[in-house]
Subunit: 188 residues, 4 copies
DNA sequence: CATGAATGAGGTTTCATTCAT
DNA sequence: AATGAATGAAACCTCATTCAT
């Protein structure tokens, strides 16, 4: 049984994805089947709801990453591919979450403290990449730049996969192809 | 002498960049040193202001592209590099315009008709790339996907250049380096 | 206990009558003792408020008509007199409602759908007159024209009664006199 | 050659008739082919324009009345018929003026001083009717009430004639018929 | 006289948030 | 905890009127 808080978050997710960040809290509450004021029993403000939604989604992504076993990969390329695949598969399975986190990012709407928290929980994977960089598999690019490039390209790859409704084998091929474009770009 | 309309547009650009798309029209007008209602003598609605701002910026980019001489390049790689450099140099010189057009895009806020107009004025450069694709210099990627990848990566490159405040020679090196990452990704 | 919605409607009625249709919604709200936004919890727009006010008033008139027993009259003259009297008495008792509905009509401000609804609820009385016309008690005038004449004259009669502050027996006499002028005009 | 002032008045007339009293002065000016501010060289305020328009129309009506020769009629019925016909014929020839003066009246928008002026120029015809009343051709109705009744009914008659697009002989018949309804109502 | 850009008060409507029940 | 009516600040936009040219 899904908790009422989670139910509100799920409704908010759907409405943000469908109508943008300007959806009134009243509409979220109504769609979630609770009273206007009830929403504010679970979240102090609309900002709080957005922050929680973002944090929860990112936590979910981290769990996928952890389940992928990237830490057991034998080199940066391999571990990068594992994360690349994990993230794309998760995005295809959760297109709304992918879309809404992107919306949050470009609208610059998530609270700094939450952004810091998220950075924190992704630290292990950052460190993993850091280690790989030191092993000189790739061009002399600093970690942040590499991340940016990776995020930008994985985003493109996801958009394409969603646009073409890729699944199963076709999706796996797409993952490999797009990873190739990324990796060829940054590899030495 | 800058026209009043251009002055309002410039002010809007600065405020959108600094505070997001939610800046009140009243604030734009005040900051521009005109009365609240005056803004609406130049733009029918806030939407109209946004559309005009977007269109003007894109027209400016096209002019830079035309001045770059990409049409005289001998192959796709060369013409791509010319455009790549033009766009990055322009973005570094006009960081607010770069930022705000990106904001407009991810907020999906520009009117469809204006988007169509913009697509139109970029058509020559699209066709240029189309031709290059046919000459088999790059992987079997369709034009739209290629554009997406290019836009994503050029965006990353710009963000990095801005973050590091690159200028002159350092900027030129950065342009070449980032183009390399892009081109190695997509080239055969 | 009068509902808040009815209280707002009553306040609007008084202000429309006193100051015309241009009264700001803010003034209506303030006069009604509620916040600006509260008015819009009860009516979606100012137009909605106007429509509801009009519809409610017309429903009230229909109830008076139904209570008058015009349908039991033995001929058109008699039933006409019943309605004539009912409407004048109601108008004298509710001068603001009379005034404001007239204002709405001449400003052509009520939504078409509401006008249609109102036409509908008056249909039985229309049909009553239709029947009378067929029985050749009056000149060869079509129903709509007859209604127009009647409405125009009953309006005059009401204005006169209000101007002279007629009540009780004097009012009843006035009703008979004015009906006479009307009926002599249209009767064969 | 029509004067610029008259041209603006004519344009205002058409726009008021077509779109209601809320037409912006800017629209009137534009439609009249003059600059926004020019309108205010001819009329001190929008109210002034409305007053002038109303006064001019009423002066025109009085001229028609004077040309009709009602003062040579041998009794009240005859002189009433002359005026009745004059007014209806004028209204059919000038439907916009008829419509707009009615709009002005029901919106209660004409300045009191102008209303007084208009009353003044109609005085001769008032006095004519006054005399007729004393000769006991009609019921014991005071002059103002009689005027109200007449105005109300002549209005209905005009609306019907306009709705049916009556002209020539049919219009003359309609004038006689409607006058009959009126006169039978008030005659002894 | 003619112009039309500029003005800014004022109108309608939205919506995050509160709080008495 | 849940409710939902009430709030009022703030947003966008209109338009009669002015005035420098």
């Amino acid at each position: 049984m899904i908790s009422k808080q989670d139910h509100i978050l799920q409704t908010a997710l759907e409405l943000f994805a469908a109508e943008g960040l300007a959806v009134p809290t009243a509409k979220i509450a109504k769609e979630a089947g609770v009273a206007n004021g009830t929403l504010f029993n679970y979240f102090p403000t609309k900002q709080g709801l957005i922050d929680t939604l973002y944090l929860n989604i990112k936590k979910e992504v981290v769990q996928k990453f952890q389940a992928g076993g990237a830490d057991k990969a034998k080199n940066l390329k391999e571990s990068s591919l594992v994360l690349w695949g994990s993230y794309i598969r998760w995005s295809i399975a959760n297109p709304l979450k992918h879309k809404v986190t992107n919306m949050f990012m470009s609208a610059n709407i998530v609270s700094p403290s939450v952004l810091a928290q998220v950075k924190d929980i992704f630290r292990p994977f950052h460190e993993l990449m850091q280690k790989g960089i030191k092993q000189r598999e790739i061009k002399n690019i600093d970690l942040d730049s590499l991340c940016q490039i990776k995020v930008a390209q994985v985003g493109v790859s996801i958009d394409q996969a969603l646009a073409r409704n890729l699944k199963g084998k076709a999706l796996e091929t797409h993952i490999l192809t797009s990873f190739d474009i990324y990796w060829n770009g940054v590899a030495l």
